[in-house]
């Protein structure tokens, strides 16, 4: 049976998570700036619907990766207070995930934009 109170509570927690992610992670500002610039350029260059949806998916991927990275960093900071190799690996791999997704997004962006520019 659907519990509206529980549902509302989970929405509240999720929204608080978004506020925290944007407050704690300044990289999201850079991503937001790039996202608006890319979307604006896409509209000005008259992208097809499919291309714009691909751009949207890439934007969502980068934002999600950045938020997962923040969550992992916070959990590691909570569990490990001293310098530990395992903690470093967890944080580095998590940061690597953001870089990997960002590079992928740049490649996809370049492929799409090049077909409109050249």
């Amino acid at each position: 049976m659907l519990n509206p109170e529980k549902l509302l509570k989970s929405f509240r927690h999720a929204f608080t998570g978004i506020v925290i992610a944007f407050s704690e992670n300044q990289n999201l500002f850079v991503h937001a700036l790039i996202a608006t610039a890319v979307v604006s350029a896409g509209i000005l260059l008259d992208f097809t619907q499919t291309d714009l949806i691909i751009v949207l998916v890439m934007i969502v991927l980068v934002f999600s990766a950045e938020m997962i990275n923040t969550a992992i960093e916070e959990v590691v900071n909570l569990l490990v207070k001293e310098h530990r190799t395992e903690a470093k690996i967890a944080k580095d791999v998590s940061a690597g995930m953001v870089l990997f997704v960002s590079i992928l997004a740049i490649i996809v962006g370049l492929v799409i934009f090049s077909s409109y520019l050249f």
Binding site: F15, F29, A35, S40, I43
Partner: protein, 192 residues
């Protein structure tokens, strides 16, 4: 008493309220199509609603100092979220073949947000006064001088912002100049 009136004016004519009214006003004025105007007003209200909940949640959990986000350091989160929402709003406008005038307003809003943030790194300009000036100027440029009376709201908001000690006279003047210049730039770009 005066301070209470100033607070009411400041809230009633805040940028968020202006943004909430803008889509319907400009669409209905330019197309006289009630259905389209109401549809895009509803879409815009959903986005503004999400943005408002973001601010209120931030204030409730202590991430933001107040609803005006007076502390400059906290504004970066607001800017990031606002820009992300604007990008999604633009995509929806484009995918649903939205009205051209809404694109112009959204681009103007985005450009304004970017440049205001750059200026705010060195100087605090009044976003409230800039928003009402931009709103009045846009209405006049898009629909003619019958909206000249809206300019009377500019000194009113300026007075309210100074009275509530949120801004100084120079910050208000910079806000007006910034909005006039921005509206003119947007107008020239889209006229070309």
């Amino acid at each position: 008493m005066n301070k209470t009136i100033a607070k009411v004016i400041s809230t009633v004519l805040s940028p968020l309220v202006i943004l909430a009214l803008l889509p319907f006003l400009i669409l209905y004025e330019s197309s006289a199509n009630l259905g389209t105007s109401l549809f895009w007003e509803a879409v815009s209200l959903v986005f503004l609603g999400i943005f408002s909940v973001f601010v209120m949640t931030g204030v409730y959990f202590g991430y933001f100092s107040d609803l005006d986000i007076s502390k400059r350091k906290q504004r970066i989160a607001l800017m990031s979220f606002g820009l992300m929402l604007t990008a999604i709003y633009l995509l929806i406008l484009y995918l649903l073949n939205g009205p051209r005038i809404l694109f112009i307003v959204t681009f103007g809003f985005m450009l304004g947000l970017w440049t205001a943030e750059i200026i705010n790194q060195k100087f605090k300009l009044s976003i409230h006064v800039a928003a009402i000036t931009g709103f009045a100027s846009f209405l006049i440029l898009a629909h003619g001088p019958q909206y000249l009376a809206v300019y009377f709201l500019v000194p009113l908001v300026a007075w309210a912002r100074i009275k509530t000690k949120n801004h100084t006279l120079s910050q208000v003047i910079i806000g007006v100049s910034f909005a006039l210049l921005l509206t003119l730039v947007i107008y020239i770009i889209f006229k070309m």
